[in-house]
Symmetry: D2
Subunit: 148 residues, 4 copies
């Protein structure tokens, strides 16, 4: 499927609103089926011991995988997360989190994605979490969503 540059630019902006604005998500690059994002690791995103909150990491992976999926579907459709699983390889701290997500199996109704989350401290990049998602592509009207 050919993906329009204007569409990619639109989605990259669209990815930041509501909850992702709250967590300070920054889109880095969006290519068909592949999205990279960053989050500055500040205290208000951490858990009780000063590590990045598992929930933040999960949210980042989910959203990055969601918009990676978005880039492959019809504009008439929206993406909803069906389910995901995330494994935390080590406690995460550092300056930034970076998430790379990609579609491993596209589909008209169901897309499967993976995401890796890295912590970045100076020049050191460490894989700290890995996730797998099932995404649903649903007609906009079906969920009462406005055109976007």
């Amino acid at each position: 499927m050919k993906v329009d540059k204007t569409r990619l630019e639109f989605l990259k902006k669209d990815a930041v609103q509501g909850f992702t604005r709250t967590i300070g998500l920054v889109p880095v690059s969006l290519n068909p089926g592949k999205f990279v994002t960053r989050v500055k690791l500040v205290r208000r995103l951490c858990q009780q011991d000063g590590f990045a909150h598992a929930g933040l990491i999960a949210a980042m992976a989910d959203h990055t995988a969601g918009y990676a999926s978005y880039s492959l579907i019809s504009e008439a459709n929206r993406i909803l997360t069906v389910e995901f699983k995330v494994s935390y390889l080590k406690p995460a701290s550092g300056d930034f989190l970076e998430c790379k997500a990609w579609v491993i199996k596209p589909g008209r109704q169901i897309l499967f994605t993976e995401a890796e989350v890295y912590s970045i401290k100076g020049t050191v990049k460490t894989l700290i979490a890995k996730a797998m998602h099932t995404m649903a592509s649903v007609p906009r009207e079906k969920i009462g969503a406005k055109k976007a």
Copy 2:
């Protein structure tokens, strides 16, 4: 294992800081191995179509299950999420989200938990997500955490 009332009160307060303060998590009740929390569903916690963000729901379930686990372990230890899986039964909107999490198998090093997330709109309560987690109980010193 007997759990001290003072300990439960401490954990209930401790549960809200950093990221959980950011998402407005409100502890409802904490009993040994069982925790209930709420989040007011405001725009800044939602995704692009106005539903509760999947990442928010995951974070809520993770944290509620984490502190349900906390109530069963030694004060010398801390809880870290090893991994979890969450299924989204339907798109969530409403006034509040409520999460109920419980330990299904305690253990000295590994605890297994489940969590259900409900949307609450007026008097209607709907199950919108279900999660299963693996939690690790690790000695405080091992992760360099301060006494709490």
Copy 3:
């Protein structure tokens, strides 16, 4: 949805063929959206340390959840597993494994299920694994399946 008794009887028999015959799966009871099965725990189903193989437990949970789903869908459709997650609460031994699976959220295209697996030794029944699945209900023709 009303489920015909004849249909339930058919599905209960249909559940044992190919791989499930190989593992000696025995249907215990099938009700709309709920299936119970058993497997006799013999050496050829165990792993290197004499416990029930994790793969056997996963297979049993998957199949039991699959036919629990089958009982709720149109006869024109078939069930395929989209994905699942299973947690092993403790190593399993004993005389039998018993699996109880149920649909937690039916749907026209997607069904969510849960399954619990118990080991049974004499009169002692122990929960040893828990699983969550996403099932797809797909038109028979779409996967080239014969009428059943």
Copy 4:
């Protein structure tokens, strides 16, 4: 960690017994942290529509990831599956299934692994499932296992 050639040869043989003999698992190659296996896709391993049973695929991925983990731990320890998640990208048929599993994060107590399962039909190889596992390395005595 250096892994002895004799140890690898032992594990490659040890991998086939009980349940894995029942499903006809064939070890292809075992290197430190990486295992490849095959299964001939015969009728008695399939489900009702003639596809490879989801449970078979899960079992194969679990076992291959388990012995990939085995190759990295102390001989005094055994591997038990803590949990896993598997996604089915498409219905699987063909002559063989091939599974490739690798450790993505080793550890003294917990190892994280991934596995890919391919169907092979003549010269065509198709990715049909992907799994992520959490494995526990436990002292032999703790689970009452004999020396191996």
